[in-house]
């Protein structure tokens, strides 16, 4: 699987892609594979404040529910409406069309502390 070089990753299996002061956040290919068939995605509303390492929503597969932890601190400025009706897209295109939220970064420099694509792949053992 291709883990984009321009993304940053967390050990909780989220990714963030930064453009200007906005980060687009999703879960990794590895995460969706571990979860299995995703049937429900619970996301916050625009305007909600999120904090690094704190849960802002959940992803539910057929067999279990898992928290999504924010890789950055900031404010939700966009939510992917695709996932409300088609949560299975998260299995199909987790690094692309099935992004979760856009966050206006409170501290853009904090992204530098996250894992690179190579580090993340080493972390998941592949």
């Amino acid at each position: 699987m291709n883990y984009p070089e321009n993304f940053k990753y967390t050990k909780e299996h989220e990714w963030v892609s930064v453009e200007g002061d906005t980060g687009t956040v999703g879960i990794t290919f590895h995460a969706q594979k571990e979860l299995g068939d995703i049937v429900y995605v619970d996301l916050p509303k625009v305007g909600v404040a999120v904090e690094t390492g704190k849960s802002f929503g959940s992803v539910e597969s057929v067999k279990a529910v898992s928290d999504i932890y924010s890789p950055v601190t900031g404010e939700i400025v966009g939510v992917n409406s695709l996932l409300a009706d088609a949560p299975e897209k998260l299995n199909e295109d987790p690094h692309g069309a099935a992004w979760l939220v856009k966050i206006k970064l409170a501290n853009p420099a904090e992204v530098e502390g996250l894992l690179s694509a190579a580090d993340y792949q080493a972390f998941i053992g592949g």
Binding site: G36, V39, Y40, S58, V62
Partner: protein
Amino acid sequence: MSETAELRKTPLNAAHRAMGARMVDFGGWEMPVQYSGILDEHMAVRRGVGLFDVSHMGEIEVQGPEALALVNQVTTNNAAKLAVGQAHYSGLLYEHGGFADDILVHKVAEDSYFLCVNASNQDKDYEHIAAQNRWDCTVENAGGRYAQIAIQGPKALATLQKLTRTDLGLIRYYRFVDGEVSGGAARIARTGYTGEDGFEIYVAPELAEARWRELLEAGEEFGIKPCGLGARNTLRLEAGMALYGHEIDASITPLEAGLDWIVKFDKGDFTGRAALEKQRASGVQRRLTGFEMRGRGIGRDGYEVRVAGEACGWVTSGGPAPVLNKNIGMCYLPADKAAPGVAIEVIVRGQPVEAVTVPLPFYKRAK
């Protein structure tokens, strides 16, 4: 003996690994939870055919001239009603009326019964039965002598028929024969845990891998899928079937679980009878019911259930129902609230989500 943390393995363990199944610890057994994906496997069983390794299930054999007396003492259903070659669902209870296990009882001969029991309960069940053996029966904990493979779905018969000379069409629901599959001895039962037509075959462990591969090949034209325990769970949930440790356990009686039909008070004494009679006389206080989520979210095992704002029950199993395209579950509620059509709230991760009680089962196949 010292405890070991090593997981028990079925004779198909290597085959599962070679075929890329995801393996998990299930009650001390290393079992496949999924192959291609739970939803994909689920739909294969509903529309075509799926193959399950259920060799972790236990088998207990009760034999001797008084075998019926022992079986009828330890189980709730009336084994005297079984013909040779017939099986039924039954309960194994403690004196206090709670479930030790739920089992299938097969009558092999007048003096021989074959019990199929839950994997993680098999040793406990064996002790439980042996301790009540006042009839000098031979009771054997025989799980190690059997592998079990379930072939389930509308194309199960057509798949299995390719491999056996036994006319499967003559085996009625909950009947079985001792026949052959690919020339090797097999007990072939028309039973299952999916809500579909299908068969469960019991073979010697050394034959299991060959049978597994032959069945996958035989079912290829019907789109057969190897299935894991994940799909087994969504299928049985849709069919409204109980799972030990969820809908039933030592604290739950058959009357509470909606399993009155496996309790035969007219058959004479059985373990747990006095407690059930007392419960029946004083009124059953809580009952199992189905529910459907109305709001967004899924009620999961252990979640609290409220009626009119008051906490009064808990979810036993819950998840998506792939065929019905709804989120469903089962829960215990006070008996007066366990009727269909009651508005309830399931507390999903701290938030109350609307749901409504519905009758069981959720899914019934077209006959």
